[in-house]
Symmetry: C2
Subunit: 405 residues, 2 copies
């Protein structure tokens, strides 16, 4: 198993990219799907932004350092990773705030329809942002299990809102098929790409998608709480109206007029002043993912997770896998159901194998392919086998829950 | 004039604090009301957050480094600067997004009333966020000049939304009087403190205010696009409902339930995942402002602007001052009306005196008291006099407008 891993690492065309990240000693990091690791170039770039652009340039840097265009510049760099044109993507706000803008925006394009359809167990914030609009009286939330979604698409549905790769299981939706089904029913589609962008070659325009949002701090390695992004298909950009009409989404923000007039294109998705430190860090992560290439990242992540399963099998570990075993249906993670998933997760962390726990019984291991080695898979599998064998996860210290895991 | 400045600097109890900032050589920075200068402690703190907390701690830092409580921690530190209790303030999102939450939240407390009253010429994003809710059909915007505001407070007004210190002129509202007038009319008040917090001793609770928002990147020195803050008076926290119901404002975000249930207290103002880099930088700025003391900062800013006027007068410069000349009615800035304000501003910048221009004819000079010297006032006045005398601002290079000034 370890020799096999050695050979795979030696043959891995992405092996050298691990050096492009700063990773702690003695840690196998299987949580890049929650918070991506730190690119080696980020600290220096941030120091330059802070000392040079802010400290020396001061207010002048809005022009001289290009701060004012940073949301568009970073958005344009994200675009090719998700099958979009540069003018269709903008980096701004949080995933949650962008969901609100785009659910409301989509509703504005479908007068007479109020239903926003999603699935139970979607990532909570996706569902909660529908709730917010529902309490405003502007939307009506409808949930249907994933195998009943197509049947739930009736004349009342304005928007189908789905997360492409499920946060808990990694299961993928067939983006092309669901988009087609929604359009056939006269609805629009909003995809949450948080768990696929940067790890899976998404093709929004190839699928005819309408809208999308995604997260900057997972596979894009933009840092904790990094800005998110929003995608608006070009054909909707003229008619779309979103309610968070802040000054940066105005057609002429520096004329300081009393009345809002939306900027053209995707720029109207902007609201407040852009968070420059966060955007600068995100740009470094996006540049690195772009350089490695999302197709190669996807291939390696699948190879990693398959090899991890192979190692578990060699070690005689049998766990209830809730992720699809069919590679074509799986994002870049493997999740296991276990009654004591929380304690197992804590026992692994104590050994330096960082995965995460999702309530109530899921141990979730992510395979961020840019910085993981096959040797890490073999080691992580060995640790998991030992933890299960030894029963060390039953120790009291591992069962006390902290706020975030 | 210069000797006078020297004596004033020698007697200035805040003089040593200038060393706590990193400022470029050869620049007199009169735009701290737009982007505050860089605290000397910020680069090291950010490097620690990036290399240590993100790079080494990875996902664990949400607990071990206290990231998860950062919005509350920074909010609690801002609270005493604005006359609030620690549990009434939270740092999150942008000023614009927080305006949306609180206008909508205030409307939810006043069923049957839809009017949001403000003044023409308020900072654009304040007005635009009303527009967004108006287009949702949830609000009705009404504007009245400041001397007619009280008369415009009728039974339809749900919220009075005003900016405490005017962004263009620095003119202050009488917060206590306007709040009382609004309450007398059965309305709630939302104060935008962007141009007063950190430079002027605001007393929200003393005035009986209901809600407030404010900016992190001006006098609080949080860096470009820093997170903003929101204040909700304790008496409203239980009943308030805001529509941006993201997972971080949930009462139990890590239970991942399908239904939104608001967190108690000011925490329900949170929406998406908090921007850690921005919050960490903001915390440094807030700590520094707190240490200097907002009363002392206010006293010095008034002394600086009065001395600047005195220098102009000594130099025989006569300009149309649009800021109140009565100190009690003025925030930390002086604005001048001039037909060629843009070119004047550019000519000053070319000499290293950075102020800013506000459309169509305002030259705006801010007196951020934490890092400016009386000598800077004398020098800036001399430069302004020379620019006007020489007519150098008439040169073509100074009249071409850039995107941001």
């Amino acid at each position: 198993m370890h020799e096999d891993a050695r050979q795979r690492d030696a043959a891995d065309p992405l092996a050298d990219y691990r050096e492009r990240f700063i990773l702690p000693e003695g840690v196998i990091y299987l949580d890049g799907n929650s918070l991506g690791a730190l690119p080696r170039a980020t600290p220096d770039r941030l120091a330059e932004v802070v000392r040079g652009e802010w400290g020396e340039g001061l207010i002048r840097s809005w022009n001289s350092a290009g701060w004012i265009d940073l949301p568009q510049r970073v958005g344009a760099k994200i675009a090719p990773l998700i099958g979009a044109e540069p003018e269709e993507v903008i980096a701004c706000d949080s995933t949650s705030v962008n969901l609100f803008k785009l659910i409301a925006g989509a509703l504005s394009l479908k007068p007479g329809r109020k239903v926003v359809l999603s699935e139970p167990g979607n990532f909570p914030t996706d569902l909660y942002m529908i709730d917010g609009l529902e309490k405003q009286g502007l939307a009506q939330r409808r949930l249907a299990p994933r195998n009943e979604l197509v049947g739930a698409l009736d004349d009342d549905v304005a928007v189908l809102l789905l997360t492409h790769a499920h946060y808990k299981t990694g299961e993928l939706f067939d983006m092309a098929a669901l988009t087609r089904a929604a359009h056939d029913a006269g609805a629009l589609v909003l995809w949450d790409l948080s768990h696929s962008c940067g790890a899976y070659p998404v093709d929004l325009n190839g699928c005819g998608a309408d809208f999308a949002v995604g997260c900057g701090y997972k596979y894009l390695c933009g840092g904790p709480g990094a800005p998110a992004f929003a995608y608006v298909a070009r054909r909707h950009q003229q008619a779309l109206r979103q309610p968070l009409t802040g000054w940066m989404g105005h057609s002429a923000p520096f004329e300081f007029s009393d009345d809002y007039s939306p900027a053209s294109g995707v720029d109207q998705m902007l609201c407040g002043t852009p968070p420059i430190l966060g955007l600068a860090a995100l740009e470094v992560g996006v540049d690195l993912v772009t350089q490695i290439g999302v197709e190669r990242l996807y291939a390696k992540s699948q190879a990693l997770s398959e090899f991890f399963r192979h190692c578990l099998s060699e070690l005689g570990v049998s766990l209830d896998v809730v992720s699809p075993t069919d590679l074509a249906q799986r994002g870049s993670q493997l999740s296991f159901r276990h009654r004591d998933a929380f304690a197992l997760c804590q026992a692994l962390i104590a050994r330096g194998v960082i995965g995460d726990f999702r309530d109530p019984d899921i141990l979730r291991l992510g395979f961020a392919p840019a910085y993981l080695r096959f040797a890490d898979m073999a080691e992580a599998a060995r640790h998991l086998a030992e933890v299960l064998d030894s029963g060390e996860w039953r120790r009291a210290e591992f069962s006390e829950r902290a706020a975030v895991t």
